[in-house]
């Protein structure tokens, strides 16, 4: 029964995915978006975190904070570069993989993209100014250059989310005799669903970036590096992550408030509602959906209706109400959704515990188990975010524009040869991930060994002959920076860290999850 049925279900999915190019195109989209989104989170949240650290450094004349801000700037240079190129991939793929979508609806969903492009323009400009401006501009002006980045990251995210929200809850056009008419692009840009989706994603970005950066310093503290550098490096991102983690479940709840009307089949899949109950639908944990039935599950009465409908009596519409060709892959959507919610609640509990005990004058940073948990929160937040996206996107199937266009209609006429392209992409993204991690680790190791600046690596053996690492300054990262900012970092007796290693590592782990899908 089970294995064969599972296989049958799987091949059903494949059969529905008719054009030979559809399956690889979806995998390609999932891989590249799942990869981009992690770096995008850093692009959205890192500037604000750097800003706070840098501000503290200047305000309190704190060399440790300044040093952290400077290093984070360099880490973000690497992350933003690959973030930007992976975003470019997406722009191409919208056309390469989904010409049916872009040709038909390009002028419906395009306006948000135009504003997104504008935002990224500004982000890239100020990124260049900030990163290369250390020591070359008056410190206060230089600090101000982070702010536009923090703002444009938000605008860019809002715009992309507006597109995705539109795919899930289409508005701003009519279809008359098969023609798309009455296009209202501003309605696509500004609507309630877009706002809610943005809010949730924005918080997710702060959770991902905040927990990941804090993870790095948690690992450092576990290794016995218990200095101010590590404490500060932990606390600032952790504070950001805390606020986001506390707000996130509420944001998620509001985002889902209209799911029963908006995408009932998706809600049924999330909640594993195989049939419409008589009263309130119970919350289902575990189990598997086979042949129109959920088996081997634990049920908690009422909870599903309460969570998704705010009701003790109304049932969640069951999957039995939908034709089979209108159902999403149920198990996949369900488990992704539950993973997200579960992790969200776990992280909420963890940060609440930390601050509660701190209020009671107990410092959890002294606790090894807490630090160990903190060391994986970056990964957990990424997993929750990826799971949330998978739930959203897979749960939308078989529609690309919900209720309007099915995914096969949007796909290009490419052949199964697209699998080769996909294989190449796996290699490419894998290679970029490995290279990014290698570079970030080596940066952090060199910092720990005492090189305040990293070498400009263009000459030949140069360096072996020239002696130890710390005399090699990168030509464009002159020491004047430290002097001018009033903090001689090299001589400040600062202990050096292993920054940045871990977020790279986390990113990779989460990527491979995205890929493994």
């Amino acid at each position: 029964m089970d294995a064969t049925q599972l296989l049958a279900q799987a091949s059903d999915v494949v059969a529905a995915a008719d054009p030979a190019g559809l399956m690889p195109a979806r995998q390609q989209m999932a891989l590249s978006l799942g990869w981009h989104i992690i770096l995008a989170c850093f692009g959205v949240a890192f500037p604000a975190i750097i800003f706070v650290m840098h501000l503290r450094g200047i305000r309190k004349n704190d060399p440790v904070a300044l040093n952290l801000a400077k290093r984070w700037g360099k880490v973000s240079a690497v992350l933003f570069a690959i973030g930007a190129v992976s975003g470019t991939v997406l722009s191409f793929e919208m056309g390469l993989l989904w010409p049916g979508l872009m040709g038909t609806f390009g002028d419906v969903l395009g306006l948000p993209f135009a504003f997104e492009g504008l935002a990224f323009f500004l982000e890239a400009i100020f990124l260049g100014i900030y990163l290369y401006g250390w020591g070359k501009m008056p410190p206060k002006l230089h600090l101000l250059m982070v702010l536009p980045m923090a703002i444009t990251g938000v605008i860019g995210t809002y715009c992309v989310l507006a597109v995705n929200a539109w795919m899930n809850a289409p508005t701003g056009f009519d279809i008359v005799n098969g023609e798309v008419v009455n296009i209202a692009p501003w309605a696509v840009l500004f609507n309630q669903h877009a706002f809610l989706a943005f809010g949730h994603m924005w918080l997710a970005a702060y959770m991902v970036a905040g927990f990941s950066i804090a993870s790095v310093y948690a690992v450092g503290m576990l290794k016995g590096r218990r200095d101010r550098h590590h404490r500060l490096g932990f606390m600032v991102p952790f504070a950001f992550a805390t606020i986001a983690a506390l707000a996130q479940p509420f944001a998620g709840h509001f985002l889902g408030h209209d799911l029963a009307e908006r995408q009932p089949a998706k809600l049924a899949a999330f909640e594993f509602a195989d049939e419409t109950a008589d009263g309130a639908t119970p919350l289902t944990i575990g189990g598997i959906y086979v042949d129109g039935e959920v088996k081997w599950a634990v049920e908690i009465p009422y909870l599903s209706s309460v969570a998704s409908l705010n009701s003790f009596t109304e049932p969640v519409p069951g999957l039995d109400q939908f034709a089979e060709e209108d159902e999403p892959p149920v198990n996949f959507a369900h488990y992704s959704f539950q993973a997200m919610v579960g992790i969200g609640l776990l992280l909420l509990a963890a940060v609440a515990l930390f601050w509660f005990l701190r209020w009671r004058k107990r410092d959890l940073l002294e606790n090894k188990w807490f630090l160990r948990f903190m060391a994986v929160t970056g990964l957990l937040a990424m997993t929750a975010m990826e799971a949330g996206w998978i739930a959203t996107e897979v749960g939308r199937q078989p529609w690309i524009v919900y209720g309007v266009m099915r995914t096969p209609e949007a796909a290009a006429d490419h052949s199964a040869g697209l699998w080769a392209v996909y294989g190449g992409s796996v290699l490419l993204y894998g290679g970029m991930t490995i290279a990014a991690i290698a570079i970030l680790r080596s940066m952090s190791r060199r910092w720990r060994e005492g090189a305040a600046d990293l070498p400009s690596p263009y000459g030949p053996k140069l360096l072996a002959a020239d002696g130890p690492v710390e005399v090699r300054d990168c030509i464009d990262e002159k020491d004047g920076a430290d002097v001018k900012d009033g903090a001689d970092v090299k001589n400040g007796g600062v202990e050096l860290d292993d920054a940045a290693v871990q977020d790279g590592a986390d990113a990779q782990a989460a990527d491979s999850e995205g890929t493994a899908k």
Partner: protein, 360 residues
């Protein structure tokens, strides 16, 4: 006549020209990186390249995003048609763009020479491939090989005389722009030996590119008649302007007037691009879809113009500020070997630093 569609098309095309100039100079520096020679000999040039494009490459690259977005929003069906026909060059260009951006960042922070070499080779090679494939896309569009309904021939659409020539022209103009920019940068930093070397490069690359551009016209007459008519008719003055700009650049380089040479070089390349645009007007897809036929919904086009207006007001000045900073003495101060930093006093440059022993 200034219709709404035309205004959007013009804004879109302005982005193409900006990408050709700014993105082109970025790509072109990869050509010089590739041909800079061995690790020791090439080190000064590579350091200069890193320095020159480091702060600006991400911003320069967003022009491409701008163009794509304007295209799919303003002219959605022709975008889909081009993507389904020209996916091979698009994919190759994309690979080039991804590899070059990533490896440029990686190289900057590499620890060892072999890492830097590895990322450097990837960066440089992909910097040449990407403009070539982008160029073939131009040729394919201009020679009318993208059918309105899409799904044109994936190979002959871009493997044909016009497209291959535009690919080569694209590589050439990028290298030419980059050479003049880098020469001026080197001169401003007082790196005499490097300046001399780059000056020769600029002259050679410039002359070669000029020849290719005008040799490229020969096959176009038969291969792309509509485009040819446009080029030799309406676009003739612009093409003449580009020839003048190119010659003026060579003269200025010869006479070591590197600052003005940048201006004429930009004018020459912008004019070549404008020649393409004017030559193919009023077609979006030559012989297939005109600007007014291909345009999307009116409300959307208006929205796009709003976005463009905001961009002009906000992004324009910001971009100007970035370029201003990168050209300012504070951002260039130290390279001449011991120039004073602004108020911070002399920069500490350890005598053992390798760059102090390289030429200059």
């Amino acid at each position: 006549m200034m219709s709404l569609e035309f205004a959007v098309a013009a804004a879109l095309f302005a982005g193409v020209v900006a990408y050709a100039v700014f993105g082109g100079a970025d790509f072109g520096s990869g050509f010089h990186d590739l041909t800079a020679g061995g690790a020791r000999r090439g080190a000064p040039l590579r350091t200069l390249i890193d320095h020159s494009i480091g702060p600006v490459w991400e911003a320069n690259h967003v022009w491409l995003i701008y163009v794509l977005v304007m295209w799919w929003t303003g002219f959605p069906e022709s975008f889909a048609a081009a993507m389904t026909t020209l996916y091979v060059p698009f994919v190759f260009a994309l690979i080039g763009i991804v590899l070059r951006g990533a490896s440029f960042a990686f190289r900057k922070y590499s620890e060892t020479l072999w890492q830097a070499k590895l990322f450097g080779v990837v960066f440089a090679t992909s910097s040449v491939l990407a403009p070539f494939f982008l160029g073939t896309i131009v040729g394919a569009l201009a020679s009318g090989r993208v059918p309105a309904g899409g799904n044109g021939d994936p190979w002959t659409s871009w493997i044909n005389p016009t497209a291959l020539f535009t690919g080569c022209i694209s590589v050439g103009t990028c290298a030419f722009l980059a050479a003049t920019f880098l020469t001026a940068d080197a001169a401003r930093r007082g790196e005499t030996a490097l300046t001399a070397k780059l000056r020769v490069r600029s002259l050679v690359v410039g002359a070669a590119t000029g020849v290719v551009v005008f040799a490229g016209l020969i096959p176009i007459e038969h291969d792309a008649p509509t485009f040819w008519d446009g080029l030799t008719g309406r676009a003739a003055p612009v093409m003449a302007l580009s020839a003048l700009g190119g010659i003026a650049t060579l003269v200025l380089l010869w006479r070591r007037r590197f600052g003005p040479a940048r201006v004429t070089a930009v004018a020459a390349v912008a004019a070549v691009m404008a020649g393409w645009g004017i030559g193919q007007y009023p077609w979006v897809l030559v012989d297939q879809v005109s600007i007014s036929e291909g345009a999307g919904a009116t409300a959307t086009l208006q929205g796009l113009l709003v976005a463009v207006g905001i961009a002009a007001v906000i992004v324009g000045p910001a971009l100007g500020y970035l370029f201003y900073l990168t050209q300012s003495p504070e951002w260039n101060g130290e390279a001449g070997g011991g120039v004073k930093a602004d108020e911070g006093g002399p920069i500490r440059r350890p005598a053992s630093h390798w760059s102090s022993r390289l030429g200059g």
